[in-house]
Symmetry: C7
């Protein structure tokens, strides 16, 4: 090692640099070409069959992803080849570097393993509305390493797959609309339940509801009001608009029937001023 | 390694690609066929015997799961075979990659070990209502790697089994309905307890209750009210509807007997305005 | 490896499948038989001796547990034997898999080591009331890997033993009943303490109390009240009912002696409306 | 391995079972005998010398603990001997199991290392009042692996020693009694301080106090009161009763001197009703 | 080792020191020269092509980064060479040091792996507004090891890339302006919605909005007000100014139409003074 | 191993026991003797020189600590010798035990490494007031493994050094006294600042202050008051008493100048009872 | 090992002790000499060049740091030499100790790696105001292992570099002064904005501001007030004093223009006493 002088190192560095450049250029040409090819082939082959749009999108993204990583893998192998010629044995003998890389790269492997099972078990499809790792939104792309989720406010979130421990998928099956409404302690509970059920029945023809919503009963004896719960099964993604309309209808029905939605209550005992 | 030129690598890549394609197609054919076979065999064999529905469902899911993983295992072995021919030794000699994979895949192994014991110790059955890892809902499927739970609002949650540390199973035995009710500091405690016990006795014939609910006594001297606790054992999954009906009955009994459920209380001493 | 064609692999898979089936059936027969044998032997041998019920239950559960794990261990060894014939060497040579399993299974070993010491040091017995890992309830079963705790509301909790770091056992010795009661700032403290001690003395004959409860003194000068603390040692598990009765007795004694339990207090200085 | 048939395995299992039984019985006899011997020897040898009670208790517990673990260690070695004859080499060759055990048992080793230093550095003695790992109470036993702490409410807590990171020992030296008392913004601060110092002087003869408590000054200009701090050094474990008596004395002195302990204050500006 | 005396060690230390100095000086000369060269080359080559400013900036930063690390890598190799001559074998034989370095450096490797994928997957570009790892701001520089983010208040944050798990990129696509507005329970909901929609329509010509904002409906029946939600898609980074203008317009429209934005409400029941 | 019978093991155990006893006795004699020797030598040698008390104390504690650990190290080596004769090879061959110990003891090594640097970098001296790991108090002893901190209330805290990540040392240089004082929105800010600066000037001769405290300006426009900040540099450990005296002086100056320290403010709009 | 008797061990220990002493003394002489030399050389060489004070300070601290660690490294090597002669091989053969040290020392290596990059990437300079790891203050010294930060209250914080994940440097570029001010719902928003902009314009000549501060608009429709935001770019470290002066000026301008900064608002509906 002591016989390595500056000239030799420069020479090697230049050699490596040239090989590196050639590889980068090759990569930049092959990469977009391959991607277009895959997209075209996939669309041609699935057009004739009865495959859902989302599934095709997911498949396309996945194939492009695998293609990308395969390409990068081959690319890195080649770069390793370039470096191995001169510096490789030195690294290999170090061992320490290997250990550090092994530890440092475990996150990457963990991402890929998790990503593989998310795709295999179809936990996500492009276009579904999910909650995972504290993010909330529509899936834009499922990759082997990263998943992209578009939040409601327009933000695009990049989440490493190993963070996706426990995925709540809100696009699988019917949802429940739930409205908790407080009435005054002075109002008659039976009367309020009848009025609420009348409101519910009005929604029986609503296409968003799968079945007529129902009044469950007294959910809580709160500090200021008696809370009554109304519940109903809706089409997927229609639950929020259904809840909004039910809230409006209930408020108006209560106004017509003289049922009070009470403000916070307090009983105050007034004492005379001590120093008076 | 230095003798690897671009042509050779392309050739290898194409060869691998072809073998890969054949394997994928074979996999796509064998997978659904095997699954149908297993389902049919299981249903035929259990129909004659007295086996609970849930148990059959769990068994079916488990068998399909093991079948899937076995198939994937064989599939991956073959793919490894394909790659081993050319690139394998290179990887094997690296060691670093092995370390990274070992670390990265420990989550997967942990999932399978935990999943195995969840199934072995029957901690979950399909259709049970559980709380685990912060999720709450009905078990839809118990797999070796992932458990699916359907939340009350309709969301489908995919939870890796290693997250299921500490499972609260709400479908094993009778449950307790519990109502805490506050009365005014001015009301007579003995009177309120008598009224509450009367309400409880009305539920003695209720099929949801296993035994007549009981008044326990003064649970708390709160800041605004004296809290009295009522408790009763119910059929599994009937505790909420039982509690709702008891709340309504207690509220109405208190109204009839003139017992007050007080609002938050405060004593205010009024001082004259200083600058007046 | 390159000489493995599809036919051979299928053949192997079928062979493995058959051996696997035989093992599963044998396991399903031997398992229940052994368990019944152990239960009977234990009950016969302990009936003549003076052994507490709980201890026998714990011992029985533990023996059944060890038996189960031994059986499974032998069972897995055999399955490994089945697989080793064909695929084993391949796995063995990989090393990576070994590393992953080693990491993934450490939770299991940790469970067993902790479970062993919980049993050895008698930290838990079946039927005791404990708090551990955020769960609260009666111990239903102590296993080598998992402990089952029945919550007050009827839920059955399965907790891996490694989560049981720091166990609070509420069933070992006498407990303390503690009532903190606030009196008005205008009331005489000595008078209130005398009334409270009178109430305490009434409980001196109560079997739930081991000694007459005592008034400790002024625990806090609160924002609205002077808090006085009463304390007493009770029989195990009787502390809640004792506290409930003491609260009721104190409330009624205060009513008779004209001592006020004050509501939250506030002094309000009224200013005239600025724009008037 | 393929030559192992069912008969042979059963034979081996039975042989192991027998040896296992003999070992268990031997253990159950030797264990209690040794413990009694150690206790007697220790008490005989320390009776003549001037050794504090607590120290003897700690020493006895420690010796019994070491004896127990030594016995169990020998016991496990023997059981390993029993198993090694037949299954041992198989395990040894696996390596994976070793790794898993190594990881899983690190908690145990960590407990023992920490426990050893807690005993060596005398951080705890039996009978001392401590706070550690979120538990609060009197130390009942210090073991090599587990420490038992009795909470104030009577609960017995078992804490693995590795959880005891940072021990607050409240039984080492004099403690401080501290009373923060709020006076009205209208009261004269100098007057209040004089009254408080008078109360403090009354405690100068109190045996619980090591020196007469002192008024420190204005600790805070609060939202409703001017907070004055009183402080004094007390005998260990007497700080709570001292604080309770000081609170009572201060309250009564303030009543006599017309100093107000104010309720929460608020200034309210009243506006006329808008719609009137 | 025992034959190493002080003189020899000093001699070695001086020798190392000299070689070290030469290397440092060489490094200080080569480093800035190379950086300028890279910047110039990049700008010359991209000027003719249609490349976005941000992309060029990112590319430049990345190239400079890789160049820096390559240089440092060569530099460290040479220093290792210097040290290897005398002390190297000693370290190599220790092994312990290697293990410690392997563990300690894993953070560094993790940074680089993550940084590589952030750049590869284009999760960030210089000049974008992002939220990650609890920091919020404009990206100033994306490096292989560290990312620099400029907060709104002017602070410059240096974040190791491994902390960037889950990046929320707010500069990818249109954003949503959202205003929640509370109206009185006494106001007519339909009237308020009409007024709100009028306000929305006034913004239909606003260039910041991509489409006219819409009133969604009753979002919540709050404790003091009925909350109505208004929503609209805006140009990226224009959402805050759009929201500010909508808030002002809504407030003024409500004033004109006599719709009340209510203050917190409370119902107070006055009791007479008890002691009066 | 199969040839080990019970007799042999007992014999070995007894032999080990004897050797163990001799070692323990030798340790108990050598330990205190060595400690006294070190203390005497240190005090004799530092008496003549100008060394601060605290430094001598720290040095003494450190030397005693190193002596203790050296002694224990030799002691353990000997005990290992005793055990190695018979059981050692068995353990050595296991490897598993080694792994477990290596993991379990890392906390200990971490303590010593951190402790070494705390002492080397003089982060703590005996007698300094610090905050670290959530503990607050005066350093009583700095050891290689554990640091003892005496809290203000008299509690003695034992903290493993590895917990001391980030030490806040309050005894290094001058401290700042800071008083935030709220005035009424109706008061003139300039007037209040003049009065405050007058109070500050009165402290210009106070020895606790290094320079006259200054009024900074309007720190906050609070919900009920305009908060003004006063600040001044004080001698170390005098900041609390200085703040207490400044608070008292400010309160009294405000009383004399008619500046109000306002209570929490609220504007209440009274509505008539709806049902009246 | 069994042939090691007490005499030999003592002899060895004494020999080690002597060698240890000589090394310590040599260390205590060489250490301060070298430090002075480095400081002088640095100051002489940088005096002639145009180097900023802070940079020289940082460089000096770093060089002294590296010098210290190099010295300690040589020192430890020598001590290892001393010990190696006798006890070394024993340790080396143990392996376990090595593992423990490797794990325990990873924190140290992590500190140095992070410290190296903090210095390399110039994330901190002595004298800058930063926030990191929950500490806030002026950097006093940047070391390879520890960074010292002086808090505003005078406390000196020692922070291991590995805790510095994510550094917020507040001394890099202009800062923003931001004042949020609430006006009454009854006030005219346009009028208030005009008054605020007038106040802003008064600061256009203020040297602390880089540009005239601007009124942004309605930031929030709060529960009691309409919040308007004012913002302006200031010289570094001048933002707090600028904000204080703006708050004072705004308050006084509002007083002159009759714009109200409202107290918290509430609407109270009074009900008659029920029992009256």
């Amino acid at each position: 090692m002591s016989s390595l002088d500056f000239g030799e190192i420069l020479e090697i560095a230049l050699g490596i640099g040239l090989q590196f450049l050639v590889l980068v250029i090759a990569f930049l040409i092959v990469n977009p070409l391959g991607k277009k090819l895959i997209s075209k082939l996939l669309h041609t082959s699935t057009e004739k069959q009865n495959v859902s749009e989302a599934r095709v999108l997911t498949l396309e993204k996945l194939l492009l992803n695998i293609y990308s990583y395969l390409l990068i893998f081959v690319f890195i192998l080649m770069i390793f080849g370039v470096f191995n010629l001169e510096i490789g044995p030195l690294i290999a003998s170090a061992g320490v570097v290997g250990l550090a890389i092994g530890f440092g790269a475990q996150g990457l492997v963990s991402d890929i393993v998790t990503g593989f099972f998310i795709l295999l078990e179809k936990q996500l499809e492009v276009g579904e509305y999910i909650t995972a790792a504290g993010y909330d939104g529509i899936v834009e792309e499922v990759g082997l390493r990263t998943t992209k989720i578009r939040s409601f406010d327009g933000t695009l979130n990049f989440i490493p797959n190993r963070q996706l421990e426990g995925i709540s998928n809100h696009s699988r099956g019917t949802m429940r609309a739930l409205v908790d409404i407080g009435i005054s302690y002075d109002d008659n509970i039976d009367h309020a339940i009848r009025v609420l059920q009348d409101v519910c029945n009005r929604f029986s023809e609503d296409e968003r509801f799968i079945e007529t919503p129902q009044v469950l009963g007294v959910q809580q004896l709160g500090s200021s009001d008696v809370v009554i719960r109304v519940i109903g099964q809706t089409q997927n993604m229609e639950q929020w608009s259904a809840e909004r309309d039910m809230r409006k209808a209930i408020k108006e029905a209560f106004d017509q029937n003289g049922i009070e939605i009470p403000f916070p209550q307090q009983v105050t005992t007034i004492k005379q001023e001590e120093n008076a």
